[in-house]
């Protein structure tokens, strides 16, 4: 298994490299070069700009060699002030600071400044992270649970009314544009029935402070229940929008994986043993169907991020997806670079986690 995980990790390295190149190239697209973008922004001082230019080795008219050095400095492998791969402590620059590495570049969390606000990109992203984690975490849990339950039951009770309904409903929902479904849900449940709020993560008139600020969390800690209730009410429509389309596709996938598994010889062997049907289905059929299901879930992690952009823009949810949309609108190159990089690296990382989960679930990999 170690060998398998090492191989998957090594395979991820060129992917991470290509992701970093894409992000870097995106940043270089800024008209007039990165530095020029800040001249009109009063939020950021000349001293800050100069220090940051220095940290990333940015020059105004780069040659090819300059560009490569810019890339390495931006990445954090190259120590721009020292002009070498070693940090001021004489150790490789890419190591974290507490191990004697440098402090510049994206590997050290230095994503530069937002053109729009002049604030560090990383702190802007971190500020938006809780909202996105709440939304995507809830959505992912519900999505996986419902899709697996519906798919497994449909497969076990094949051709039943339940099976036909699942198939029909998934066909319909699978074809709906997510953002449009959001609009329709807003109209039905927000505007007409007024059951759920349609905007944001908290009720701005009742909350003590804007979501995510220290004052908000202080109020949250003092009186958690109504605040949780408030967030839950705001979650309903965005989560429903986010998962409806995905569940439609995945319940069909789970159903066919489970049907495949139910027709395997070892399920017949299990039945021939005379063990209860529940045990046949869970311990034999489902346990094996879980393997393709895990692979499929891993593949769709990237999809979840895309889905977050859609729902967060439609429902004005103050998360990373909404931040990305604002960044595209304002052509905020550094912000976009930061989110793209962090999002993609997270996807690669979660795929690795899924690979490990797969290896644990499948003894043919675990012991080879």
């Amino acid at each position: 298994m170690t060998q398998y995980i090492v191989r998957r990790t090594i395979q991820a390295v060129p992917v991470l490299f290509l992701i970093s190149v894409v992000s870097f190239v995106l940043m270089l697209q800024a008209p007039g070069g990165p530095a020029a973008q800040f001249n009109q922004n009063p939020h950021i001082s000349t001293a800050q700009i100069n220090k940051w230019l220095q940290d990333w080795c940015l020059v105004r008219q780069p040659t090819l060699a300059d560009t490569i050095r810019e890339y390495l400095g931006w990445l954090g492998v190259w120590n721009c002030s020292g002009g070498s791969f070693l940090s001021a402590h004489g150790l490789p620059n890419f190591l974290p600071p507490f191990l004697g590495g440098g402090t510049n570049g994206v590997v050290h969390g230095d994503f530069g400044y937002s053109i729009e606000t002049g604030r560090p990109v990383l702190s802007m992203i971190l500020e938006r992270l809780p909202a996105t984690i709440i939304l995507m975490g809830t959505a992912f849990l519900l999505w996986a649970t419902i899709a697996i339950l519906a798919g497994v039951i449909a497969a076990v009770k094949r051709y039943s009314f339940f099976d036909q309904s699942v198939t029909f409903v998934s066909y319909v929902f699978y074809s709906l544009p997510t953002f449009w479904l959001g609009l329709i849900l807003i109209f039905i449940f927000g505007v007409t029935l007024r059951w759920f709020p349609v905007q944001g993560i908290v009720n701005v008139r009742q909350a003590a402070a804007p979501f995510g600020t220290p004052a908000y969390w202080a109020a949250f800690a003092a009186n958690p229940l109504p605040n949780i209730w408030d967030i839950a009410a705001h979650l309903v429509l965005p989560v429903a929008t986010l998962i409806a389309v995905s569940i439609a596709g995945d319940s069909r996938f789970v159903r066919s994986a489970m049907l495949d598994s139910l027709h395997q010889d070892y399920v017949r062997t299990a039945r021939a043993k005379g063990i209860p049907e529940r045990q046949v289905i869970l311990r034999h059929a489902f346990r094996n169907a879980l393997l393709p299901i895990l692979t499929n879930l891993a593949l769709e992690i990237a999809f979840l991020f895309s889905g977050a952009i859609v729902t967060e823009t439609v429902f004005s949810w103050p998360g990373m997806g909404r931040l990305y949309y604002e960044g595209v609108n304002a052509r905020d190159y550094f912000l976009l670079m930061g989110i793209l990089l962090i999002g993609s690296v997270l996807v690669v990382f979660m795929n690795l986690v899924a690979d490990i989960a797969y290896a644990i679930a499948d003894p043919r990999i675990r012991y080879n």
């Binding site: 051709y159 039945r271 003894p363 012991y367």
Partner: protein, 365 residues
């Protein structure tokens, strides 16, 4: 030993362990209905070995799965029949009652050892599961039982092997595990569906020998399903020959192999190469297995039969006795045709069988 005097709904005599009566299992699929098993009857006595022989697709595996009640419904349907097993008709049992029979009193070995074991559970756990379900033993005791069974089927280092997964074992080893699994709850009947077909020739002999040995040691009855007449000759006492979902001939192994009465059995035997046949053309049955959606009317073998004559395309021959109840054949050559039809074989007039056989060999391209 089919068609002993029997009344529908009445159990067979106590020395008969399994009594299958006029069993019909059909499959309803998109393109129509397939009568995979269409009126099959036979009996197995306690401790006895019965061989069921036929080409692939003749319904012998479906018969076995029907006895185990493992036919998936839909598309399968057990249309009619009785399966008396140890004094009960298993077709009348509820699913819960069947759980107590399946795996405990009758057990089955499948053809494909490579895919018949669950890849994500250790082989020991797979045996323990059956033992715990039927023997009311603790997990510890069940594990000991599993290791004992693995020893019985000749797996070396059984305690270590029990903790392995199927993919860590060879095909022959996995089939040994399947046998250990099947015998773990001391079944009265063991059904072996082509147990050696997927294995290497050298391993085949070992597994057959193992099956014979454990059967002698445990005293279980054996229903051996195979297309391999060599396996039949070595292992079984009595034979049932099936063609296109029907029984066409029964008898002791000597009677059927040395003096086949049905042209199909004869063709099967003639298609085995042997030493004495060096230099002669290998005999094969002409044509192919009938389309299950369009079974031939009359005798189902008549389109391929070298002796087919007037009654064959229109009238289905009954499975009639040849002297004694256990020796039967379903063929108009051996039964008086109905409606006053005479014996008028198409190929030669009332030719004696050996001569007809030679003539048939000439005609085969």
């Amino acid at each position: 030993m089919p068609h002993l005097p029997q009344t529908p709904g009445e159990p067979p005599p106590p020395d008969v362990l399994l009594d299958v009566r006029d069993l019909r299992t059909y499959f309803h699929v998109m393109d129509g209905t397939v009568p995979a098993v269409d009126g099959v009857s036979f009996q197995v006595r306690r401790g006895e070995t019965l061989g069921v022989v036929g080409e692939s697709g003749c319904g012998k595996s479906v018969t076995a799965l029907t006895i185990m009640r493992l036919i998936e419904t839909p598309p399968g349907e057990i249309v009619s029949g009785e399966i008396w097993f140890d004094g009960r008709d298993v077709l009348q049992l509820s699913q819960d009652e069947m759980l107590q029979v399946r795996g405990a009193e009758m057990a089955m070995i499948f053809q494909e050892p490579m895919t018949s074991l669950n890849p994500v559970l250790t082989v020991g756990d797979q045996i323990v599961e059956a033992v715990v379900a039927h023997k009311k033993l603790s997990r510890k005791a069940a594990w000991d039982r599993a290791i004992e069974m693995l020893r019985l089927v000749g797996i070396p280092e059984a305690p270590r092997r029990a903790r392995q997964y199927p993919h860590e074992m060879s095909g022959g080893m996995r089939q040994r595990v399947m046998i250990a699994l099947a015998l773990s709850c001391d079944p009265k009947l063991l059904i072996a569906d082509e147990p050696t077909t997927a294995l290497d020739v050298t391993i085949q002999a070992q597994i057959l020998e193992l099956i014979r040995r454990v059967q002698a040691e445990t005293g279980t009855a054996l229903l051996l399903i195979t297309h391999d007449l060599g396996v039949v000759a070595e292992t079984v006492q009595r034979v049932v020959v099936m063609y296109a979902g029907k029984v066409v001939e029964t008898g002791s192994v000597q009677e059927v192999l040395q003096d086949p009465k049905h042209p199909y059995t004869e063709g099967l035997l003639a298609s085995i190469p042997s030493k004495g046949m060096r230099g002669t053309r290998l005999n094969v049955i002409k044509g192919s297995v009938p389309n299950p959606f369009r079974m031939p009317v009359g005798c189902r073998f008549h389109p391929r039969c070298p002796y087919a004559f007037d009654p064959c395309p229109d009238h289905e021959p009954p499975l009639d006795e040849l002297g004694r109840p256990e020796r039967r054949v379903a063929c108009w050559l051996h039964t008086t045709p109905p409606f006053g039809l005479e014996h008028r074989p198409r190929y030669g007039t009332a030719t004696p069988l050996p001569v007809a056989r030679a003539a048939a060999a000439e005609q085969v391209p």
